[in-house]
Point group: C2
Chain length 439, copies 2
């Protein structure tokens, strides 16, 4: 018994020691883990550890509501509305890039588009197949520094280098305000901006830019020139189910898309073109090779990750707890914003908005009218300069004159932060219900 | 005693239980940590946990030596040589990007270059101040999709938009082979490639491109045209201490740099311009706004991190164990490669290489001659088509004809993977020592 007690007495401290050591190890591991979590987060921000349940916006964004005497800038289509969704997705879209990545210029020497990362080619194909907005089979993918670079690549690829006259580029008014700026920027001898497609003399060879849904007015578009020498470039940046019903699978010769307006990551500067003709795709690739020796690999890898997560929110819902799948979430947000906008405008006769036909969306099964990323607002009554009128009331917009239209119209971005949007709606409601808008 | 024993008996299992629980927690935390480490690594690769000691190349790269009948492509200046260094730096340059980053187009609305990430502006300034290769005080920084985009931005900014004739662009031969391609790509009415600066009629206004050290031949350059209407653009992509002695702090009006040739990250597509005149910087910014609505934020953040780590290898050596600081490491590698190259060429009279004057480097304190990223190799004897001759022996290079020079010359990249480089040296030695090169 004495012996046994001795053994016990000797044994007890040993267990205690082990316990102390074990607890010390625990503490060490916990510290290391916390350190990891801290690094993992990358930049200051809210908890990113998989809490996907919807939380109040202010909790995650800490975005201050603009003061009533502050300007609200809705001139650019800066898609900051999307931040909330991606914050709620936590670390699902976190990307870790090691120091030895992105060394070589080349991504895939077997592809005619040698700077295309295979991951983004896969993700783009997967997402189009999921949404059904564009065919990908038998198409060549060309990646670009945003669709802006791809648009220039298409013009370069489609304009003969030895033609006696430069190629005419047209688009039906109201057209995207950047088209004339980009096209005439360098006074190219290959092509020239010829303005409104509906006024174009169709005897010359031309390229018609078809933007659908259209920027700025949200209309669903088809080519308007019926010339025999016409080549079409389709800018489908907004042909996604948060903005418009997906009523058909597009299969045009050249289709341009951009991450900016699909996922909201404008700062990534990644776009892609789906191109039927191999030689055209090769010439587009050549343009991007000459103008920037390819496209950021880092951004391609990030874009691939984000597009894949969007597809995962539909195809691997088990990974996402109760999070709303991407397009449904953004669709709901756009629908709410359009309800608020139409309600504000309907308070008086100061403003009007276009109407959009209701169609069935093959992706969601829902019936709805286009709910564009921009409002194409018309000032009624005696207001001529709509941009100037709104600017006086500290709302910055872009005048219709930039889009080949009249100063009665303005384009207003609807995809900014919620706090900005709410304050915009508050101000618009006040202006809308004023008896005399010149007050 | 019985009571005491009972207490002990009861107590002992409790400690044991605590121990078991504690060990279980240990195991859980360890598992979680291992999982983290796994995610942290990002992509398959070697151990990245801070093992900075130099390890054999094959251990980290797993790069196969080219078979003797395989082509070696040294046509492009693909800087894959740098991979080894960045692998050895482990996770020091790892960057974690969260899903909600890079949403907005804007990086710094207070800066005229609104898409410039403040982090890269700081890192660029810090590195130039450390190396002493360029003044940054009173300069405006413009970031671009590689220096290629900045070069075009400079041409746009410096060519009047309403001049009766287009601006002449010249550069002394041998000049960078991409200059004519980029300049005449869109047949711009603003500017036109006029070839070799040394043959230029100096009565017209012109822009002279001064590349120093020069691509392809490594020479240290100054402007050659002495016209009154001349504007200079300095391409200083290779003015770093691994390639050439830093003999003065450059303070030209417009200086272009690129991450590709400084750190080796060509796939990042980031360059920067240091610009004296604010209006020129603003017009360059405008060009990048029109041509790509800014520059990838992801790549800017990565470039900033990498440039900062380079500065850290000098200013915070305690963080880096025994790792060689960046420029010293790459300098040694370039010196070794040039020794191997000159030794191979000296085996016979088949080839010759330019000589470079020895100067003191203000950065390292060492005296050495330029050791360029490219060899400007001349085929002697009866070999006329040097590119064709080397191609027959499965070495792909770029003919002097692309650089405004003769076919007796080729440009050969010296900054590829070690395995490729070694095989190139082996083949070149054999050719060099052949009695008749036409065998």
């Amino acid at each position: 018994m004495g012996f046994s007690l001795m053994r016990n007495q000797k044994f007890m401290p040993t267990i205690k020691h082990l316990l102390i050591i074990s607890i010390a190890i625990n503490a060490g591991l916990l510290l290391k883990l916390l350190h990891h979590e801290h690094e993992w987060a990358g930049l200051p921000g809210p908890d990113i550890n998989g809490k996907n349940a919807v939380r109040p916006v202010k909790d995650v964004l800490h975005k201050a509501k603009p003061a009533t005497d502050q300007y609200i800038n809705l001139n650019h289509g800066d898609p900051t509305m999307y931040e909330v969704y991606w914050m709620q997705m936590g670390d699902k879209t976190t990307l870790v890039l090691s120091g030895w990545q992105s060394i070589s210029y080349f991504s895939d020497t077997k592809n005619h588009c040698w700077f295309l990362e295979p991951g983004i080619a896969n993700a783009v194909t997967r997402l189009h197949n999921l949404v059904g907005n564009a065919q990908t089979r038998n198409y060549h993918i060309v990646v670009g520094t945003g669709s802006t670079q791809l648009f220039q690549a298409a013009l370069y690829a489609l304009s003969p280098s030895n033609a006696p006259e430069s190629m005419s580029i047209v688009s039906a008014a109201p057209f995207y305000s950047s088209y004339p700026l980009i096209i005439d920027c360098l006074k190219s001898g290959l092509y020239k901006w010829k303005g409104d497609a509906s006024k174009f003399n169709k005897d010359d060879p031309y390229i018609e830019l078809v933007t659908s849904p259209n920027n700025p007015d949200g209309s669903i578009r088809q080519a308007v020139v019926n010339g025999s020498g016409g080549i079409l470039v389709h800018d489908l940046a907004y042909y996604w189910p948060q903005y418009t019903p997906i009523s058909f699978q597009a299969n045009h010769d050249i289709m341009l898309f951009t991450v900016s307006k699909c996922t909201g990551h404008a700062g990534i500067r990644i776009g892609w073109a789906l191109v039927k003709d191999k030689e055209v795709a090769k010439r587009m690739t050549k343009f991007i090779e000459i103008s920037s020796i390819g496209v950021s690999k880092d951004s391609q890898l990030r874009a691939a990750k984000i597009l894949d997560v969007i597809a995962d929110t539909y195809e691997h819902t088990e990974k996402f707890d109760k999070a709303t799948p991407f397009f449904h979430y953004v669709y709901n947000e756009m629908a709410k914003r359009w309800r608020q906008l139409r309600s504000a405008v309907s308070k008086g006769q100061t403003f009007s908005l276009p109407d959009f036909p209701v169609e069935k969306c093959n992706f969601s099964g829902q019936r709805f009218g286009t709910q564009p990323a921009f409002a194409w607002l018309k000032c009624e009554k005696s207001i001529d300069d709509c941009e100037g009128f709104l600017k006086k009331h500290k709302i910055l917009t872009r005048s219709g004159t930039h889009f080949g239209s009249s100063e009665n119209y303005v384009r207003i971005s609807l995809i900014s932060h919620k706090e900005e949007y709410d304050e915009f709606i508050r101000r618009l409601s006040l202006l809308s219900s004023m008896s005399s808008p010149h007050e």
